[in-house]
């Protein structure tokens, strides 16, 4: 085994992972079952996660969301995250209403995976509907392309694919968008996480791993080694997501 550097005991447990999936992965031979995901999260010291079934975004929205709901009942460590198909913005209106009525507070969007461009009218409509229901949004996609449809509408949104190369774009946008948050997963530079925390505050950051599609240790180790204060670290490792859920740390 490779020897990893020691990390402070208070950083061994990461409170909430905002980027957790399960289901089938047609482009990989990968065990993405709920059991495998639980094992991955546990073995990497992650206490809770915001969970979304891949069935919804990749195949069928309603049964996918039902599957997520059931998984979160089976595994209370997970908070259910709804999804819609942006290619069917009409159906998405109904589904967002159904999700909100059932108590779902977070909606995950998959624009690149659903071949949706940043300027898509359907995407704008879905965002409007979700914001109207006071849902927190999670979204994949290049931040420098996908920030615009979420801007100027008071959205609370976590961008799951903010790359280290996009730190400046994120910071200048987050300065005027209090609800914009960057997942740490691709903030891979030696100072990416620290720069965002220093410029706009740790409440603009949340830990995400993309279990089970990505290796978990790279993002977990990077966060544990981050040059953040105790308060900043706690905020990134769970505080930001806890606030979305109306919880206190």
């Amino acid at each position: 085994m490779v020897t990893l550097p020691p990390t402070p005991a208070e950083r061994h447990e990461i409170g909430i992972d905002v980027d957790v999936l399960f289901g089938a992965v047609p482009n990989r031979r990968l065990d993405a079952s709920l059991d495998a995901v639980v094992m991955q999260q546990e073995s990497h010291g992650i206490r809770r996660g915001l969970l979304c079934s891949l069935r919804g975004p990749l195949f069928d929205v309603c049964s996918g969301n039902d599957e997520t709901h059931k998984a979160a009942e089976q595994q209370p460590r997970f908070v259910p995250v709804g999804s819609v198909d942006i290619r069917d913005a009409l159906g998405a209106e109904d589904e967002i209403g159904r999700l909100a009525e059932s108590g779902v507070r977070i909606l995950r969007l998959f624009p690149p995976e659903q071949w949706v461009e940043p300027g898509s009218p359907g995407l704008a409509a879905v965002i409007d509907t979700a914001v109207g229901h006071d849902l927190v949004l999670l979204t994949s996609g290049d931040f420098s392309q996908f920030w615009r449809p979420f801007a100027d509408r008071g959205a609370r949104v976590c961008f799951l694919d903010v790359h280290a190369y996009r730190v400046a774009d994120f910071v200048v946008t987050a300065r005027r968008e209090p609800g914009f948050v960057a997942s740490t997963r691709m903030l891979v530079g030696p100072d990416s996480i620290e720069r965002i925390a220093g410029e706009v505050g740790a409440h603009h950051l949340a830990y995400g791993s993309r279990t089970p599609l990505h290796d978990v240790m790279p993002s977990a180790l990077r966060l544990r080694m981050a040059g953040l204060t105790k308060q900043e670290w706690t905020q990134v490792a769970g505080g930001t997501a806890a606030a979305w859920l109306g919880e206190e740390l």
Binding site: R28, G189, L213, V216, M217, P218, S219, L221, R222
Partner: protein, 246 residues
């Protein structure tokens, strides 16, 4: 022991403060990396000659850093002069070739000629690979029997193709640094590619070494694999003398 075969020194044009070579050492200490083979960011992205010159000055005062001479495939004659200038220092142990900044595709004649130049000098080549063209390196290696190539980033998103390529020739090596950390990517390679061709690289200081170390940790290497991947293979490939024979 850890030898990092893919690293950089110097500043980048992103919002990141990583320009000081001392940061290389700080991060190496933080993550237990003993030796690092670096190329100058300036030479990679802008000016080969001034970048290599700066790199040589840095290497002269930092014994834990070894260098790649960066060659721009658009000027083979200038590249040859760079090799003549820096090989006698004994501080450069390989050649680095990028594709994006010189505007050359991996299998272009210019890059193949530059690889041949490195082979003639007896140096391994670290080349940026990021698509399916990585498979074409098999034919290039077949054409130049003295050439040894490291597929930087293991092909990036085309990592399965990079693995296929490395099973077809024993002179193509893989290293895992990549900000796209697809699950199980490194274990997939370890289970198919001869162990002697597997290396460790971080892309530091552009990328924090935590990322590549995390990838290797999640691949659950045996003690035997760890020893070879993390340093023995690199020591042998680059002719690096260590306290323990490679």
């Amino acid at each position: 022991m850890i030898i990092d075969v893919h690293a950089h020194a110097g500043p980048w044009f992103f919002a990141t403060d990583v320009g000081a070579a001392e940061l290389n050492l700080t991060l190496m200490d933080r993550y237990g990396i003993d030796l690092q083979i670096v190329s100058a960011s300036e030479a990679v992205t802008y000016d080969m000659v001034s970048g290599n010159r700066w790199m040589a000055e840095v290497l002269a005062v930092h014994p834990r850093l070894l260098g790649y001479v960066v060659l721009n495939p658009n000027d083979l004659a200038a590249g040859a002069r760079e090799l003549e200038k820096y090989l006698p220092t004994g501080r450069f142990v390989g050649v680095k070739i990028h594709t994006t900044y010189p505007g050359q595709t991996l299998l272009s004649k210019a890059i193949q000629d530059t690889m041949a130049l490195a082979a003639d000098a007896g140096l391994p080549v670290l080349v940026h690979t990021w698509d399916e063209s990585v498979l074409g390196l098999v034919d290039v290696l077949d054409r130049y029997p003295d050439l040894r190539v490291i597929a930087g980033h293991m092909g990036g998103p085309a990592w399965r193709t990079a693995v296929e390529a490395a099973t077809r020739t024993d002179r193509l090596y893989l290293e895992p640094c990549c900000s796209i950390t697809d699950a199980g990517r490194y274990r997939y390679a370890l289970d198919r590619v001869p162990l002697a061709q597997m290396l460790f690289g971080t892309d530091s200081t552009l990328v924090d070494p935590a990322i590549a170390l995390g990838v290797v940790a999640d691949a659950h290497l045996s003690a035997h694999e760890t020893e070879h991947v993390m340093w023995r293979n690199a020591a042998r490939l680059f002719g690096i003398r260590t306290e323990v024979a490679a």
